[in-house]
Symmetry: D2
Subunit: 265 residues, 4 copies
């Protein structure tokens, strides 16, 4: 399955400012990147470093004035797509070390205080069935409402307000999974049929790998229901949106616009 992706965005800074970008589909075994083209305004400095969990790359810039990004690529996706509801949880003592950080509280996903809630609401379910129940509960109780949240909105806020955008839906799912002792991470991605078309975000949960006896694997879940895991091109992963923003500015900056198009080929 191949996606055609194009994305453009721009920002400006008055002063020379350090900026971190992460917007390219990641070159990882489950995604083959073709015809990729990244075009950036000339900057004082520009350096690439590997991103979280070695999924994708971050670009460091130091720039002043207007900065434009243009990106296009064709991404062929081949990932395992088991039935989420049937996947078993790993016991914590079976968790590999690198999954543990995704069980702990992060900036936008402070899971610890939700332990009573998840037991009360989803107490009869485990593993993939628990994640499925969480996803369904969010679908039943939340409104997708562009403009209703902002950069400081946490999963706590969204849980109370019962609305948000993809970022907020993903944060709530990640939080409730972690409160259920299931490792969960945030995934910035491209996907078709996202309305309105924009950078998208989903969650991944670490559950049994049905192809490896005793092994675990990350499985995509989109709490908004808009993205199909079969057609989701990952940009990067992290504890939450603080780790994989497409634009992180270490100083004042003005965001000017973004435009994203994702189509199935």
């Amino acid at each position: 399955m191949t996606l055609s992706i194009s994305a453009r965005f721009a920002f400006e800074t008055d002063q020379p400012t350090d900026v971190l970008l992460q917007f390219e589909a990641a070159a990882i075994p489950e995604q083959r990147i073709g015809k990729a083209n990244t075009s950036l305004t000339q900057a004082e400095h520009c350096a690439r470093v590997p991103a979280e969990d070695d999924i994708g790359e971050r670009i460091w810039l130091r720039s002043q004035g207007r900065f434009d990004v243009e990106y296009s690529a064709e991404v062929t996706i081949e990932r395992l797509l088991p039935d989420l509801g049937t996947l078993e949880a790993l016991s914590p003592h079976e968790m590999p070390g690198e999954a543990v950080k995704y069980m702990l509280d992060s900036r936008y996903c402070p899971a610890d205080s939700f332990q009573s809630f998840v037991e009360g609401e989803f107490g009869g379910t485990l593993g993939g069935a628990r994640v499925d129940a969480i996803r369904q509960w969010i679908a039943d109780h939340f409104d997708y409402a562009p403009g209703s949240s902002h950069v400081n909105t946490t999963a706590r806020d969204s849980f109370i307000e019962r609305r948000g955008i993809c970022r907020d839906f993903a944060h709530v799912l990640v939080t409730l999974a972690r409160a259920s002792t299931i490792p969960a991470r945030y995934v910035a991605c491209y996907a078709p049929r996202v309305e309105p078309q924009d950078f998208h975000a989903v969650a991944e949960v670490f559950l049994a790998d049905p192809t490896v006896e005793g092994g675990g694997a990350w499985h995509i879940v989109d709490a908004t229901g808009m993205a199909d895991p079969a057609f989701t091109a990952k940009i990067g992963v992290g504890r939450d949106a603080a780790d994989v923003s497409f634009l992180t500015s270490f100083g004042p900056s003005n965001f000017l616009f973004s435009e994203v198009r994702v189509e199935k080929l």
Copy 2:
């Protein structure tokens, strides 16, 4: 320089509960561990995994009832101890990928909102001099006050309340360093002369490595002033206290007591 460390603590759970422990001095190049002894109550499951940045190990338990931990070790420390105030900052575009996550907001260290404050208060300083100024500012404005904070206290709370314990002091320093575009992480550790004797916490900042042209290294800073980096045995590191608690319980648990002794040999 060698430290003699002993630590005991206990907790209990009504139900079989998954618990994550991290309390042993880490075996890393700058610390040689000798005569180590860890004694744990028998548990249903017990597994070791590498901890954050491969510094130290976490222990997964599943236990019910009372659980006791006893640990002792001799740790010989040999680390570089440059004069912090003279160290230069790396430019962001020189930062290795693994340092980037320590520039971003985390659960207890949401640095983004402090950018104006650090510019206003420490605007004339850079790199190690900036960190030194932050450390001194905390020393001048904060009271060390056992009992004044709790598990949910963030660097925002402590910044307002102007008091806390080692954990809170470290969180504030980490936050203000990150707001200054300097990677900073939280370090759980053992150190002598900590009053009252307990598990301790300090910060580490990523600045130039004076021994490697163009390279960077982590340097210990104790915002409380109690621990000398030359005599600090690291247990583990993370974004903040959420990552390196000596005890993280995935379910209700009662903490019973802890007792820590650290002496120079």
Copy 3:
């Protein structure tokens, strides 16, 4: 119906400190106070002022060192006790001016963000039936857990954590009522059968007065289910616990103990 009330508590301050106390049953039409006795340690200053909505009195102290309070009284209660579930709501344009402030956000009861939740969860109900549904929802979803909350815990925290003490239960009920456009206030009170015996807190909602055509009245609701409105002696009212703490200290103080006994005569 008459209650016998006795209460003792003590605190101490190192420095001369201004302290506000409010612990006596209020002399209001629905409560007749008999055999009241208040005994206070001698203080530098001591002055009484009317409390919120002229219900009860606050006592200003300036004291240093240990301060002891002893209070006893017999309180005969005669209040209207309509069936809450049948009471109609007043339309906002019928609300008297003094009820309006109890529809607005306060320190521990920031109601605004709960509008979507109350519509989704209690959308089919109005007025007293809505309050009854909120009370029942809290009873079904929350654990009464002494020690689980602290002085900074808000209704947002409790809503997420699904547990707390009388203060927290009252805050959640007040918040969800306000989000339903029903004025709600916090009531500090004495009541028998509160387990463990202590100062208690309930909520009051402003709904139709069944005895006055077109009029409104305050009606007690105890979200914990422990206090019977017929046997509840009000101390004072306010927007939330910030307004009617039995002890508010304007400077550092140590709380030493409290002991409360309430019995039906």
Copy 4:
């Protein structure tokens, strides 16, 4: 001194929605209202009630669709304008009952946690001199930055971010005054020379009344420095912005625009 005031604003709601408005200059002894004209879109219901502390009026509406407000008035102001820095504080035991609520924590002004900060920063000052020092400290450390805050921004947020608009400046001043045991309230007002012209907000502190032996009075302080107390027309007062918003909607609404003009005659 007479001000000419005109204000227009509009909002719309999809559903019949209860809305609370407060935008007219208050008729109080220190302000004589002349040539006042209020023009409102026809609504299902419209009722006036006295506002907080009997200063001004609130208007209850129930409306659907677009709603327009037009207001104009001439306000002649004659208020006492003592030199703030010379005013003495009242001792808490001298405070009248109605001032006490303005010493306690409110939605946007949770003062309690700032006690250490105010002692450390302003410890040598009392009464009006303390308020003056707080005002100057805000002027020295904060940027007036339209768009930098939003409806949920509290004095805690602004204290950290060191920027905001009139609302935020007033919240910080109110909070730091309360933390200094000085009653402080939030005042919605009209004033000339506010840049950009808009509804304005200042603080009032309760200090000695220089004309009444032993008495207290409310004194205006504008933390932004833009409004002169001699030319400030009060709309209403409250604990903080939650109490005196010009528009409070009990259900979803879209704010369309506002336009304010204030001139000296």
